[in-house]
Amino acid sequence: MHERTVRALGLVGALAYAAFIGWLYIRQPQSVAEVTGGLTASIGAYRIDPQAFDDGLRFFRRDQFPEARGALERADPAEQDARTQFYIAYSYYRQGWGRLYQDDALFARGLERVTKAIALAPNGRLVVDDAELQMRSADELKAELEAGLRTDVSDLNPLRVFGHRK
């Protein structure tokens, strides 16, 4: 092969490889599905599995949260879809919500997911058009999860037992 061609191909390959490594360091994917999903999402070709998403939504509405998360995670294995991540976060909120206390571990996972959903949404704005939900924006859900994780004097307020799950 001509030396010039070898050099040009080598340069393009090295730059593409360096960009891929930089992307890996920024996104920190944990599986091959996340790598391929992230790469396809970066060119706008990523699609979730609609059947698994519908299954997840059905479980979510029946308050079967672990089952809902299982289906939603199957729908979005690369964790690249903001709406799916929002529902996963919401499932953690609903499962962790309690009249007397909140489950901090579930709320923390919910906060992690909603933060991811916000990061994935265009301009960080995510509003889900779902009449079943009382919190339709990721910002509301995030604030609710953060409030649940915060420890302050309002935790001692006995009127909390009259609160309701959103």
Partner: protein, 218 residues
């Protein structure tokens, strides 16, 4: 220098080292970017390589070379820097007193090597010893001390370190795969350094590519 080496497998090797040097496998796979101190050590190592002749920058970038070849050379130099920084990131313990001691040890050794002005072969040998020693300390000795289950090596080390508070030495435990990845990364790095265009190793191809008038008989 061979174009395939300069534009192909040398950048590939060095970039792979820069990638794998940050891999830490514990509960999850984390890619740790080089801390600032590793960048400083990487730059010092680059200086040592140039001074010893293990890396001849003028064989990678020179006005007599074509523009494309110079860009390839630049990629090799930049990749060598990042690979060096990531190797230092890899062999340095993650936290505490061992991290501080190791960083100081590497800094003094690099300054010392620079002051001694050794030749290419000596620098590569010395680097192999430094990196190898740091690897053994982090991935065998400190890993054994930090192993919550404990083993024969941990018991032996505990006897040797009698009276020392282990809290200052122990590190967050890694999955054993981290050590294997680190080992192959270090081997790859040393191979890449040995393949770098050096001052004392001009090939016929290099002379031909830099002085076309002589080789064409004009």
């Amino acid at each position: 220098m061979n174009a395939t080496r300069e534009a192909g497998y040398l950048p590939a090797l060095l970039l792979t080292v820069a990638w794998l040097g940050g891999v830490r496998i514990a509960g999850r796979i984390a890619l740790v970017p080089p801390p600032l101190f590793a960048l400083v050590l990487g730059l010092l190592l680059l200086g040592v390589l140039v001074k010893s002749g293990a890396l001849a920058p003028d064989r990678l970038m020179h006005p007599s070379r074509p523009a494309l070849a110079n860009v390839n050379g630049l990629v090799v130099i930049v990749a060598t820097f990042f690979a060096s920084a990531q190797v230092f990131n890899l062999i340095t313990p993650e936290a505490g007193l061992p991290r501080l001691v190791c960083n100081l040890f590497l800094l003094v050794l690099l300054f010392n090597t620079q002051a001694a002005s050794p030749d290419r072969v000596r620098v590569l040998r010395s680097l192999m010893v430094i990196v190898g020693f740091a690897f053994v300390m982090k991935f065998i000795v400190l890993a054994a001390l930090s192993d919550p289950a404990g083993g024969t090596l941990k018991r032996v080390l505990l006897v040797m370190l009698e009276g020392l508070t282990l809290g200052t030495l122990t590190q967050a435990p890694f999955h054993p795969a981290t050590g294997y990845v680190a080992f192959f990364t270090i081997v790859m790095f040393l191979i890449a350094l040995a393949l770098l265009p050096s001052r004392d190793r001009f090939s016929a191809g290099d002379i031909r590519s830099t002085t076309p008038a002589i080789t064409n008989g004009r």
